[in-house]
């Protein structure tokens, strides 16, 4: 298949039927692309614009700002984040701020921890041959990957009881441990493929230069595996930031994360659409920005995984 311009030149004179067919194909392709882009973007657009609407605009289904409704900071004012309230004191902003901070600390903390543990294990599994009782490398890898199938409901209650005994209930550290375990298999999966794609000769050259096993790993291999690490980090971040189940069961006041806050607001009666919309917008904004600017790292990191 070729693009519009190059396609039209050679076929124009000879095969009008083929040309019509080709143009039809193009129209279908772009039609499908635009349709799905609309499907992906409209809910996000709707949420962002709704946070600037008043009640009348919501009920009458107004969609386009300035054309059929006058944007107002209504939703953001209720969060204490509009221009006129941002410098005043606001309890709702304080609450939102603490939830936001909890989300950032737990998701970044868990992603970093999972990346460290996972990269080390993945490098070991990619370069050395282990024997642990009857388990060889493939079995050990399967052991790690099999953690992925554990449904959160299996672990939720044991953790509730254990965390009570450990005084870790409603703490960020407790959530970080749990989130690390949920993303560790994915990190190991991506990082092992990443390390496998780095030629082993590089390690050997490093040994010749007098570096130790760990020296070769830290100085030579790690800098080369940044794309995979970026992909693993972003994916972990997405999963941890959006996690709801454990956070809902294991936190109550101090360590509540954003999804729990969003969920508790939808549950209450007579919700204000504009404030819900503002809250949802604020909750998804960080990852939307990450998605827009770091998308290529996700794709390139996963490509090494799928290409094998």
């Amino acid at each position: 298949m070729a693009t519009f311009t190059s396609a039209s030149k050679p076929v124009r004179k000879h095969h009008p039927a083929a040309r019509a067919k080709r143009i039809l194909g193009r129209v279908l392709i772009y039609g499908a692309l635009l349709f799905w882009a609309f499907v992906c973007l409209f809910p996000i657009y709707w949420t962002i614009t709704t946070s600037f609407k008043s009640a009348v605009d919501v009920t009458q289904g107004h969609l386009i700002p300035w054309l059929d409704f006058q944007p107002d900071w209504k939703g953001w004012r209720s969060l204490g984040l509009s221009p006129d309230t941002i410098f005043g004191t606001s309890t709702s902003r304080a609450e939102f701020g603490s939830r936001f901070a909890n989300s950032i600390v737990t998701s970044v903390g868990a992603s970093v921890l999972a990346l460290i543990l996972g990269s080390l294990a993945a490098y070991g599994l990619s370069r050395f041959r282990y024997k642990f009782a009857w388990m060889r490398n493939d079995d050990i890898l399967f052991f790690f990957m099999s953690q992925l199938i554990l449904p959160p409901v299996v672990l939720a209650l044991p953790f509730l009881v254990l965390y009570k005994a450990l005084s870790l209930l409603d703490t960020r550290f407790g959530l970080i441990l749990l989130y690390t375990l949920t993303v560790l298999p994915i990190v190991i999966w991506i990082m092992r493929d990443q390390f496998n794609s780095i030629p082993i000769e590089l390690d050997e050259a490093a040994f010749v230069d007098g570096l130790s096993t760990w020296g070769a790993f830290i100085r030579i291999v790690l800098p080369l595996s940044v794309p995979g690490m970026a992909a693993a980090f972003i994916l972990s971040l997405v999963l941890c930031w959006n996690e709801y189940f454990f956070a809902a069961l294991l936190t109550s006041t101090d360590a509540k994360t954003l999804p729990v806050m969003v969920a508790s607001q939808t549950g209450s009666q007579g919700i204000n659409w504009w404030s819900m919309a503002a809250l949802s917008t604020a909750a998804i904004a960080p990852l939307v920005i990450v998605g827009i600017f770091l998308e290529r790292y996700i794709v390139s990191g996963l490509t090494t995984g799928a290409g094998k």
Binding site: W46, F144, L157, T213
Partner: protein
């Protein structure tokens, strides 16, 4: 573990350093044994204290956690001292192993213990041993079997998600303009929190009175666009939301597979006179089969954990039509505080998942071998 079971074989590229001297080995063994003893003694003290046998102990179990960490470090040091180069190599794997044992294996075993208790947090009696009664009770729980039945439909819907995702991946892999723009846009739903999506789509876009989706449905001739009133419509709405969030993941892995595919293969198919559909069905699809199976299995694993959207939009209703096993157990915990029974349900579900995935993996192995 300290006895020798974790042995690193000589790697493929660097001979392990010569045998470590005997005295050094003894020092290493002493470190490991001392640390293990200290850990066991602390554990014993705390167990006796908690059960009320002795009066001295710690207020909570945190010191045991610290002792476990300390013990793990001692094992690592011991490995290096005893084994030298091989120990250094084992050090790559040990942190992840210790972590997984502490936060997955131990809690799961503990969960099996909880599942054998009759334990309701709201009753004053506290836990008591219940044997297999939770398991027996589960077979008479129609809500649980209803949720399991729903999971079959949810899992089957993965095939539909896969078909859409494959189509999108093919579109993105075609010669199009603004490819980067479309790729970013198509990926965005994956980034969004299912809880936020529950509100954004489930509670506002699909709102009965003035949600845009309801307005559109009325315009298209559906007079009474209640997305969550009739059982199958509610199921479809929940499934649509989940698909919206998860299709990008399938799509991006398939796209990566398509881009790794050699271009010559498709050109050869064109030379042979295959049309687009034939080229796809006889060339692209078989080559993509291994990637497809991998992504399908991962997606099914995630689908079996589906809970957030159901909990927040319908809470399982109407009449349990949208219930998933996870959302049902969540309600058993939250509303009925029935800890023992809920965990029993969860453990039984885990066993079903393990059985299902074992069969799936076997089948997929056989199938891919047949195709190749």
């Amino acid at each position: 573990m300290q006895n020798s079971s974790l042995a690193t074989d000589a790697g493929h590229h660097k001979p392990a350093s010569p045998r470590v001297a005997g005295s050094r080995k003894n020092v290493g063994r002493a470190v490991v044994i001392l640390a293990s003893l200290a850990f066991l003694v602390l554990l014993l003290i705390q167990i006796l204290y908690t059960t009320g046998a002795t009066t001295s102990g710690f207020a909570d179990w945190r010191p045991i956690l610290a002792a476990y960490l300390f013990w793990a470090v001692a094992i690592g040091v011991g490995q290096v001292v005893i084994r030298g180069e091989r120990g250094l190599r084992a050090l790559f794997l040990l942190p992840a192993v210790f972590f997984t044992v502490a936060v997955v294996i131990f809690p799961t075993l503990f969960g099996i213990y909880i599942a054998s208790l009759d334990w309701n947090l709201s009753s004053l009696e506290g836990p008591r041993f219940y044997g297999f009664n939770n398991l027996i009770g589960l077979f008479h729980d129609t809500y649980y079997w209803n949720a399991l039945g729903n999971m079959i439909f949810y899992t089957a819907a993965v095939l539909g998600e896969y078909a859409v995702a494959f189509g999108l991946a093919l579109l993105l892999n075609a010669e199009i303009r603004a490819r980067k723009f479309f790729r970013v846009v198509f990926l965005l739903p994956m980034m969004l929190s299912p809880v936020a999506v529950s509100w954004m789509i489930g509670k506002s876009l699909m709102e009965y009175r003035f949600g845009p989706a309801a307005t559109l449905a009325r315009y298209l001739g559906w007079e009474n666009p209640a997305f969550f009133a009739s059982p199958w419509m509610a199921w479809l709405s929940i499934q649509a939301m989940d698909a919206w969030v998860s299709i990008p993941f399938i799509m991006i892995i398939l796209l990566a597979g398509l881009q790794a595919m050699p271009k010559e293969v498709q050109e050869a198919a064109k030379v042979d006179g295959a049309n687009g559909w034939q080229a796809f069905w006889h060339v692209t699809f078989p080559i993509m089969l291994p990637v497809s199976i991998t992504v399908l299995i991962i997606r099914i694993i995630f689908k079996l954990k589906l809970a957030d959207i159901v909990i927040n939009v319908t809470a399982g209703g109407p009449g349990g039509a949208t219930d998933t096993v996870s959302s049902f157990i969540y309600r058993v915990y939250r509303d009925r505080s029935n800890v023992g029974y809920g965990t029993g349900l969860a453990i039984f579900y885990l066993l079903l998942i393990i059985a299902l995935l074992t069969i799936l993996l076997r089948l997929s192995n056989r199938w891919t071998q047949k195709v190749e």
